[in-house]
Amino acid sequence: MGKTLFDKIWDSHIVAAKPGFPDAVYINTHFIHEVTSPQAFDGLRKRNIPVFRPGKTRATPDHNVPTIDQHLPIKEALSRKQVEMLTKNTTEFGVEMYGLGHPYQGIVHVIGPELGITLPGMTIVCGDSHTSTHGAFGAVAFGIGTSEVEQVLATQCILQYKPKRMKIEVKGQLKKGVVSKDIILYIISQISASGATGYFVEYAGEAIRNLSMEARMTVCNMSIEMGARGGLIAPDQVTFDYIKGREFAPKGEDWDKALAYWQTLHTDADAQFDKVLEFDAADIEPQITYGTNPGMGMGVTCSIPELADIEATERPSFSKSLQYMDLQPGSRLLGKKVDYVFIGSCTNSRIEDLRMVAEFVKGKKKADDVTVWIVPGSKQVEAQAIAEGIDKVFEAAGFQLRQPGCSACLGMNEDKIPAGKYCIATSNRNFEGRQGPNARTFLASPLTAAAAAITGNVTDVRELI
């Protein structure tokens, strides 16, 4: 019987599979950032062992960094300490680091792909759940905890039980105004925030194949929001064209050999999945979330479910969530006033996202009482945006182009949404307090977020294009 793409990659990375033990899986690339790594380095010190393969780990600070005046020392003492600790640890243990001000610095899941570090067939981990982003290249990439970061630093391996396999096929073509973020928000709303727990997902189908690399990353990024261990897409010509010529990508003869191997990375026709789900792209509208987990989403023109539509056991959690959002069951979000617009995060902060927004807002102005933050995913994205004059378009529209980092995705720096305010965000989590204590988040695509920036309300972007 044939194998799935996931099986091919996983099985070829098993270092040891002893009966009664989880698989010891070899890790090709390990990313670290300042928040989930200090305790792992401490662990190495306690055991008095080095980083086993320092060349296979790359570091960058992203969660805590300010998004204005990055050339100045970080004001907040604890954030500064964490970022300094990353510099200290990586220097001491010989790990390559792209610190603040470095042209390669950025959100860890944005820089890996753009630098050509992320490649098909790799196993990739990071102490960060959105490591699933890298699956867009046909890699097995997943988030881990700090104890596991220590395992990888110490041995370049991780102990894991093999997840089950799920295929999600999205057939047909997307309609106007619907983009990759809408695909993934739609899928999560259909199967819930725990609908893929225990599985590794392969996305397939015409609608997925037609996406650019960056749009595929948006889909894989949010795999974790339905509970999946990770998500991946088989590499194809789109993938190879994207990688070719990037800084750390294989070159010359190495490229030819690599390409020959990558072309074998696909699910065999007779391979079996543990579960298969199918969706039709034509059913997908621009999406928006109304609740406090990413599964609480709907088409932008739809109404929030009535209490009666929710299963009895789930009603208390549903009501608690709407109470937090100060929204009524059965009501519509269309026309709801928003206070902030955040376009950024590892889900939607790449150059294509910024281009999409710029093209839409060109010649338009933001609504008066809305604050708009555009936070590029990396220094390279920022530089490219400036080179293309996108910064000027934003300026004219009244949008602020800030410096790269995680920013208001989780509000660890100063970029917090004030209590009680509504923010339409292109990030991936609408949890209570995620963007700041008592902040209220609507997740949406960059287009839907940009439309709200212009009108000041939740808007159906299709009416403006």
């Binding site: 270092v15 040891a16 009664g20 033990f21 010891a24 070899y26 090709n28 928040v35 989930t36 200090p38 305790q39 401490d42 055991r47 062992i49 086993f52 805590n64 604890l78 300490k81 964490q82 490649l119 098909p120 790799m122 102490g127 960060d128 759940s129 890699a139 988030g143 881990i144 905890g145 700090t146 104890s147 395992q151 110490a154 041995t155 370049q156 391996c157 991780i158 102990l159 997840p163 925030a193 725990s194 727990t197 509970g227 294989p250 190495d254 050999k257 191997y261 987990n293 599964g295 056991t313 959690s317 989780l410 660890m412 209590a419 989590r429 949890f431 209570e432 307090g433 995620r434 008592n438």
Partner: protein
């Protein structure tokens, strides 16, 4: 951190909310420490304290009726961010067991790596626990890892739970994964020499 897991009987803290994500267990702004200690103080911070840092009376951790080393929560506990700080804050607060009808994958690993036992029970048994505690906040829950069962003291109702044999051995003996991985250095070197590329 308390390594090794011994069987225990304890009163429970009930939290019948679904999809409790790790941002609720420990909000991001408290992730700035560079050690593993002290996170218990901020466990469920925004549910426990209001904007003025005054305890919220209606939150279970502030209710003196409910205490104990077992947290019982609604389904899909620990979803969201991979932050191990969630497990550290539960451990630091004093929890040794979390019971739910469903756990998010990464949280489950993080808990086990910190010698907290995640016990997955059926939705029906979870509701039985909530009812028992509602009836009597002093109700005891017994968790037996060797025999892999969980029992409600008052009613004697019990259920078996799953745990993989390797993790069970680790918990019972206080071993961690790195000890095992370090013992594989020969296999790791052999693997590396067999792969021409880093993928």
């Amino acid at each position: 951190m308390e390594k090794k897991f011994a069987n225990l009987s304890s009163t429970v803290v009930p939290l019948p909310i679904e999809n409790i994500d790790t941002d609720q267990i420990i909000p991001a702004r408290f992730l700035k420490a560079t050690t593993r200690e002290g996170f218990g103080e901020n466990l469920f911070r925004d549910w426990r304290y209001d904007e003025q840092n005054a305890p919220r009376k209606d939150f279970v951790l502030n209710n003196p009726l409910y205490k104990g080393r077992i947290l019982v929560a609604g389904k899909n506990f620990g979803c969201g961010s991979s932050r191990e700080h969630a497990a550290w804050s539960l451990a630091d607060y004093g929890f040794k067991v979390v019971v739910s009808s469903f756990f998010a994958d990464i949280f489950k690993n993080n808990a086990l790596n910190n010698f907290i036992l995640p016990v997955q029970v059926s939705e029906a048994f979870l509701q039985q626990i909530f009812r028992a505690v509602e009836k009597d906040p002093a109700a005891q829950l017994e968790v037996n890892l060797e025999e892999q069962f969980i029992r409600i003291g008052a009613t004697g109702e019990q259920e078996k739970f799953d745990i993989n044999p390797y993790k069970k051995t680790c918990l019972l003996n206080g071993y961690d994964d790195i000890d095992y991985l370090l013992s594989l250095s020969k296999e790791i070197n052999t693997y590396e020499t067999s792969r021409p590329f880093n993928f």
